[in-house]
Symmetry: C2
């Protein structure tokens, strides 16, 4: 764990909820009998693709930026991200009235680049294969005196993302349908670890599972090994939003304590989940945002059959051409 950094807890999530309330949407929980039948369980989908900026990332970004000092607000923030965190930070910065520079890979989906531009974020593109976004971000931050806003391994980011879990636990409680398990698309682990903190208090019996591409299963392997393991460089998947190199230090510390395990999905599973979300739920899920639904439908652990399983659809920022291609496919 980063020395001197405390892990966030349930109270951090509660405080974040108060801070972000004016800026984020309560997203609905959707169900469909055909998805239940495909999964062999009762699936409750929290549609964070309907969140402001098209992903849950707005929650953590807003919480983090709201905590900047008046001094820090003047020089603003730097963030690096393939897209969803970028959009969350750019929007939060605009709403809070501070400057933001976003470092994005040149091959990021156009819809994500456009989203950042629309919020007035300054974009610096880099080549994913030859340049280090960390180095570029650190240089920009030093030049401008700006604060680097990490995309997941940060206590305020984790607490902010956790507000999705707070909502979800309360929604299921109100519906008198407490979840037996919850599956979340996992990259660095900011969202799922925040959610786990909320559920630990509000719904402690709910098992928390990560979902990742099978070629990029750092969380599943790390949880099995009991320490952080990275992905082999150069692994590929259509799930661009969740291709982080390895679990975060803070997020893994939370995960080790609170996660039940990791589920692995193929790109084919993910494409099918995108189609099911389109057809049955009428929502637009990006591939990385559909990994948990793919896991629920195609890779549900036998012990969860027949149970109540919550699923986060975490983002919907997908280019029209790719979405049309997925709809047309059948693999």
């Amino acid at each position: 764990m980063t020395p001197g950094v405390d892990l966030p807890d349930f109270d951090s999530v509660l405080a974040a909820a108060e801070r972000v309330r004016r800026f984020v949407r309560e997203t609905p929980v959707l169900t469909h009998a055909a998805i239940d039948a495909a999964a062999g369980a009762r699936i409750f989908v929290k549609a964070e693709c309907l969140q402001v900026t098209g992903s849950f990332k707005m929650r953590g970004a807003t919480n983090r930026l709201a905590l900047l000092t008046p001094e820090q607000r003047k020089t603003g923030v730097v963030a690096f991200s393939s897209g969803n965190h970028a959009q969350g930070v750019a929007r939060a910065a605009r709403l809070l009235g501070l400057p933001a520079v976003i470092v994005m890979p040149s091959d990021a989906p156009q819809v994500k680049i456009d989203g950042v531009k629309a919020d007035g974020g300054e974009i610096v593109l880099y080549d994913r294969n030859s340049e280090s976004r960390e180095v570029i971000s650190a240089r920009l931050a030093a030049e401008r005196g700006a604060v680097v806003v990490p995309s997941y391994d940060d206590q305020d980011i984790i607490a902010g993302q956790g507000t999705a879990g707070l909502e979800f636990a309360r929604q299921m409680h109100a519906a008198d349908e407490p979840l037996d398990a919850l599956i979340c698309c996992t990259g660095g682990g900011g969202l799922i670890s925040g959610i786990a903190l909320a559920f630990e208090r509000l719904s402690p019996a709910t098992q928390i599972w990560t979902a990742e591409p099978e070629a990029h299963d750092d969380w599943a392997r790390s949880l099995e090994a009991g320490h952080i393991l990275a992905n082999a460089p150069g692994t590929r998947s259509i799930c661009d939003a969740i291709l982080t190199p390895e679990p975060g230090k803070l997020t893994f510390a939370i995960g080790q304590r609170l996660f039940a395990g990791g589920l692995r999905v193929s790109d084919g599973d993910v494409r099918d989940a995108v189609r099911q979300a389109f057809r049955h739920l009428k929502i637009v899920a990006e591939p990385g945002g559909a990994a948990a639904l793919a896991a629920a439908v195609h890779r549900l652990p036998p012990a969860l059959k027949g149970k109540r399983v919550g699923v986060l659809v975490t983002g919907g920022n997908v280019d029209a051409a790719q979405f049309a291609q997925i709809l047309a496919g059948s693999d």
Copy 2:
């Protein structure tokens, strides 16, 4: 007006809300700066495509079926519909445990036919060009002693659909953003007339506008003329869900009293609205369900520029191939 049939009123809508509450979802209100910019107004989209069965029709069908006598429940119901009412009736019938026969045109979108099948509805297909669905339905009802459930011109259907308006008015009140106007996709007028009853009481300053295909502008012309006018036979549009021949008698009586006027959209406007809903709101809108958004973005009356305008996206039951084709287009 049908002799002996009272018009529904605000209390009918309130009573319907109590009746359907367990069966329908509260749908979210979504916004996006890019849509506001395109419209030149603040647009609030109530996403009824996220409703159970993928359209608002579940509201009215559930209210109507919940009011059947124990006797009537045994022999069940007959409904005719190009798809969304069909699915609403089939689902409501399944949930309430009564048999349903659905008369659908043979060229209805496959996704709608499949939806009815999945709910165990018995389907009778007919040829839109050579057969009368009214005649077929009446015959089936007579043979089975079943009740024909009309798709819009019925006081209990109108009251049920009006529950969407009740929700919308309350959501905007809670957000402290009362609507200056509301635009609703309009076929027979069941939804918009129910909504108008809710807004008349809860938000009387809100103007209520219909939205229809320009080649199928029976509401706009009827409202202008002060009496019901039909469409020329054989008019076409991609908005399959709202191609009714003329305004209903009950719905027009309500509309004459409460509607501000009618807006006309082209198929190109509608395709663009489907793309905007995909790109910015991350929802799946079917063409007929996107007519009001198309009107807001492309045909907003000058007096509504800069105002708060509510829009119903009424359904999302569109085949993947058609949706992909619309995404690929640019007209």
